[in-house]
Structures are given as structure tokens and as C-alpha cells.
Symmetry: C2
Subunit: 355 residues, 2 copies
């Protein structure tokens, strides 16, 4: 490997694991005047990496997430709307929305004092009034080096390891964004679905900071871990009937599909529902009468509000939230890592390292 | 008819027109200390009168509105959740959510100077932190006299006739509430479904006050009337494809059902959707990905925000909105009036008079 090349994982098209190509001679990115070059130490794995790879976001897809499509892809169609933003993905693409690393070079417009900063990357980037996402519309964290505009590389002072810091950005900022959007306040009752996942487990911690009453939906074998995180009441998906209708102030939903309408029934008058995913399936049958007769607000949450990432940095630096790294893999083992991730037998996050 | 009795229409149960009973010997309501007695001059007809009569709001019902169920009722089931608020309706009930009249008596706590005030009734009443609706949880306007707490009888100075004033409260406040909730601002593109109905035609006028670009969905034979009201672009339901995806800032939807997901596709990133009805059917298949990838907000709007009714009074007194009374009927002809209303061959409102 020469000094101008790096290790990394290329995504060569939409499909199964075979579309992921680990290489050791990828050119190191060239930075523009307002960008910084980051030596990536660790990179978190998220549903969105897999969703983007298999073109799950395409309107042609109506399947929920599953191990099978995560491994094999959905089919052989060519999708032109496979990204978060509805545009096509440009291949080859280096994915990875979560990065922790160190600034090793800066563009002409950036103060050289930034070199050496330990940083995490804000993955939701507003550039010329457009929003793009790290590892989706631009190359991301699944490589030894990455580059972003200076503003999106945020310095962090923390005793957490690189792997731990790399577990925060996407999941915790998505969760914080939903709690801000739904304006969860002290004493309110929040119901969190998909509670063992990255966003779910982050939502529990961030709801606990707000002193809410926390109910979660997950699998029985994860209930103890979720209680330790702050859950007050635990339910399986089949136990949804045990939660009283009209008893919940805020729903944070990552499951969607057939569950959405049931979740909406749980909301009180003036209740708020936020979604950032739909692992059980993208299509929901919603009773519109419930929506209007209870004066509900339903929020889709992808783009981060401007105070989300500063809040996240503050929570980390004040030790108000804990990382939940279940397992780490080296970058060349990305397929094994995603297979472990897809099996979802754990609470928290999986992280890749470039060491 | 004695001095203690009045003409009025009793709703004797959920069902068809046969559940409406016109009587001339109904006791005049007795007022409490904080209430006022109103001599009703005119009472508007609304979808909600019919929806409540046929128990359309019951979760057991999944039908859209139609002439047939409006005339005959849905079936013979006993519904215990037939009201807006999900509780059962107490029978007999005097319906009618829209009242224009004159205060003729006041309770002990109310200043007698109110006697003689020309008033319209705010139909959404917050009483002990509960919201109840005029003509639903309490008796309403389909009678010679009605009573409400003093605060909900709002004095109005206007040259409009009683019939014209009675056409405003429910429809225009529902529309204003949705425009406030979705925060429609100058220059934005609004799409209004069910545009010839009471709420739809009010929404056009209220969007025009805000200098929005107004697209409407209705029937071809109503397009001219809707353009005169302020619509810039007119479409039939079958022409929805002619509206570009991602081109609309705000959707005001009274149609619902199969159309909802198409309407959501029309919204731009950060678009807002509000609903207060679902005449084509209460169940909507929504693609949750569209909701979250475009950061949409969906609002159900029934309870009026506190500034809605004061705004409405102001618009009326400043002649900023026009009444659209298509036809009036006398109270004893309520069945004929509702039949005319159900046929929906007009733009605007139908009003009953007690003269």
C-alpha cells in the first residue's frame, strides 16, 4: 500500500453482500479548500448502510427488513431512487454514516490548528440548501480516510474509546431529533418500538435524561438490558394489547408496517408520533379518523434539527449517555459484521475498526 | 306551543333519516349560572351532523361517506363510540354545530348587558380540561333555542344575514385551524382536496388571504366557482397525476382514503399535511418511508387552537371572507336539506332557519 492509497470497502451496486468489495488500494480522498481529511479510527454499522445497499428505500420495494434481503439484496432490478433523498446512488460508493477519527490535513481555508483534533462526523450535511448524508450521497466512514467540510467534523473531548464514540452519531442524533420534534417533557409517557436497536436504545437513554416514563417494545431476552438502560415497562410486539389505548404521550417508532395504526391507538389526545424507520415494512394502514379526532401529530424525522448534534456532543462530554458497543470487527470483516448486525440478537451497536 | 317549549329536531339514535324527529313541544333549555340562552335564527349543516347520526366515527366503520349511508345509516349495530371524542352519544340529542342567534337570557353570573347580543357559537368548547362539541356531546343548534357557557357565545358585528353568519363557524374555523397548524405562509403552494365543501371552500378563501398559490381538487362543473373564490389551478381526483411530486408545501385534505398516500407524494421535503375528514374512506395506506425521508409533518385537526375563533370573528367583521350559502331550508325540512347536502352538487354551505 502506497502513501496515496488506503484500505476501504466499496459498494459497487445495489444488491447482496457480493456488492461489498474490500480493497487496499483505494485512492486517499483529495480535500477541497473548505474540507478536512480525517483518519478514520472506527465506524459504526447502521440499518441505513444495508437499506441503501439493497435499495430498500426505493418506492418499488414494499418489504420489511429481514436477514434474507439484508444478505442477498431484494432482486436484480435497477433502482434509480435508492438513496434517502430519492435520487440514485453513484457507484462505487464508500458507505458508513458513523465516523470517529482524527483530522490529519485541512484545506487552504481551514485553520491548521484543527490538525490533530479528535472528531466525530455530523452525518446530516446541509450544503447549498440541500441535505446530503455521509456515506450515501458522498463517501463515508468505511475506509481508512474520509473527508468532509470542516463544519461537519466536530471536535470531541471524551474518555470514550474510538469504537465507543463511533457508535453515537447516527443513532443518537436520530433519537435526539425525534425527541426534540415530539417535544417530550418530564413526566410524559413515551413508547419506544425497536427498542434494542441503535436508535431505540439511544431513545431510552435520551428519554431518561428528560425524566419520562418509558415503555419499550422488544424481545423478552433483551428486557433486562433495556431495564438497565432506563425502561420502566417492557412488552413484546404480541403484547401491544396490554398497553392501554389513549395512555401514551409520545411514540418513537422504528418498526412501522402493521404496527403503526396500533401504536397510534395508544396515543392520548394531542399525542405525538415520530418515525425514522420501518423495519417491519414501509406501508402502514392508518385510520385517518384517529389522526384527526385525537388531534395527533405524526412526524417523519430524517434531517437533523440544528441543535441536535451540539446537544449530542454535550451529552457525550458530560457523560449523560452511555455507548453500547456490543461487538467490534475489523473493516475487512464487514460482511461478518453486517451478518451479526442483521441477526439482531443484541442490544446496542456494532462497530468496525480500521486498525 | 307554550312559552316553555320550542321547535327542534331530536336525534333518537344512530341510523338513517328516520332517526331525526322534528317536534314542536321540546322543553326550552334551562340555563345554569354561567350560561346564556340563545334564540337560534339559523343553523348550518355539516358533514359531522350526518357522520354522528350514522356512527361513521365508530372504529367499526370503514366506509367512506356516501349518499346511501347518509340517508339510511350504516347498519343496525349499536355503537358505543359514535362521537368525535370516542364516547357514546346520549340520545335524544339535538344536533347542529353551527349557530347564529341572539342572547335572550343569561345565568346569574353573567352580565345582563349581554341580552340582545347577536352571536355565533364557538363549537369547540373546553370545559374542565375536556373538549366537547356543540351539537354532539351537548345539544346544539337544530332548535329554536340553545344554551352554551357565556364564553362560547361570541358577539358579532356584521352586515351578513343570519343564514350567512350561520354558515361560518364549523367549516371556517376548521379550515383556519388547519392553516395555522400547517403554518401556511405567503407564496407557498397549497393543495386543497374536497375543495367545494364547507371546509374546502373556506380553506381557499383563507389561503388566499395568506397569498398562497392555491391548487384544488374537485369536480369539473365546480371549477369556475372555485376559481372565483381564489383557486389558481383546478384538478379532478383522476388528474392527481398532473400535479408534480414534491411540488406542494401544504396539503389540506378532507378526502383521505386511497388518496392520502398520493397526496403525501406531492409534498416537498419538510411539507405539511393536515386532515379533518376522510369522505372517501377512513383507512389510508401510507408509505412511512415517504413520511420520514421527506421529513413530513401530518396533523390531525379537530380541536380548535385558541386563536382560531377570534381570527374568524375578525375576518368576518373586516369582510375578508365571504359566506357561500347555496340554499336555505326551514328546520322542519331537515331531511330534505341533508339530502340536498349529501348530493354535493354545489359549492359552499346549506343552512336551516327557525323562522
Amino acid at each position: 500500500m502506497s502513501l496515496e492509497s488506503m484500505k476501504g470497502v466499496l459498494l459497487n451496486g445495489h444488491g447482496g453482500f457480493d456488492k461489498l468489495e474490500y480493497k487496499e488500494n483505494i485512492p486517499i480522498p483529495e480535500i477541497k479548500d473548505d474540507e478536512v481529511l480525517i483518519k478514520v479510527h472506527a465506524a459504526g454499522i447502521n440499518n441505513t448502510d444495508i437499506n441503501t445497499r439493497i435499495a430498500w428505500y426505493s418506492k418499488n420495494n414494499i418489504l420489511g427488513n429481514s436477514i434474507e434481503i439484508g444478505e442477498k439484496g431484494i432482486n436484480n432490478y435497477v433502482y434509480n431512487d435508492g438513496s434517502w433523498g430519492g435520487e440514485g446512488i453513484k457507484f462505487p460508493r464508500i458507505q458508513g454514516i458513523d465516523a470517529c477519527g482524527e483530522i490529519v490535513d485541512v484545506g487552504k481555508l481551514i485553520n491548521k490548528s484543527r490538525i490533530g483534533d479528535r472528531v466525530i462526523v455530523n452525518p446530516c450535511m446541509k450544503i447549498n440548501s440541500n441535505y446530503i448524508f455521509f456515506g450515501s450521497e458522498v463517501d463515508g466512514a468505511f475506509a481508512e480516510y474520509t473527508k468532509v467540510k470542516n463544519d461537519f467534523a466536530l471536535k470531541i473531548n471524551s474518555k470514550f474509546t474510538n469504537e465507543e464514540l463511533a457508535s453515537f452519531p447516527c443513532s443518537y442524533s436520530t433519537a435526539e431529533n425525534m425527541l426534540l420534534q415530539t417535544n417530550l417533557i418530564k413526566g410524559e409517557h413515551i413508547l419506544i418500538t425497536g427498542a434494542s436497536g441503535g436508535v431505540g436504545s439511544a431513545s431510552i437513554q435520551l428519554a431518561k435524561i428528560r425524566n419520562a416514563k418509558i415503555s419499550v417494545i422488544s424481545e423478552i431476552e433483551k428486557f433486562n438490558d433495556l431495564k438497565l438502560l432506563g425502561a420502566n415497562c417492557t412488552y413484546t410486539r404480541d403484547q401491544l394489547n396490554d398497553i392501554q389505548d389513549n395512555s401514551v404521550d409520545v411514540v418513537i417508532d422504528l418498526v412501522g408496517g402493521n404496527y403503526t395504526n396500533q401504536l397510534i391507538n395508544k396515543l392520548k389526545h394531542f399525542g405525538r408520533y415520530a418515525t425514522a424507520g420501518a423495519v417491519s415494512g414501509p406501508i402502514a394502514n392508518i385510520d385517518i379518523r384517529t389522526l384527526y379526532l385525537k388531534d395527533l401529530s405524526l412526524y417523519g424525522c430524517t434531517v437533523l434539527r440544528s441543535n441536535v448534534f451540539p446537544n449530542l456532543i454535550s451529552y457525550i462530554e458530560k457523560n449523560e449517555i452511555q455507548p453500547l458497543v456490543k461487538k467490534t470487527f475489523s473493516l475487512d470483516n464487514i460482511v461478518e459484521a453486517q451478518r451479526y448486525f442483521l441477526n439482531k440478537k443484541f442490544v446496542g451497536k456494532i462497530v468496525l475498526t480500521t486498525y
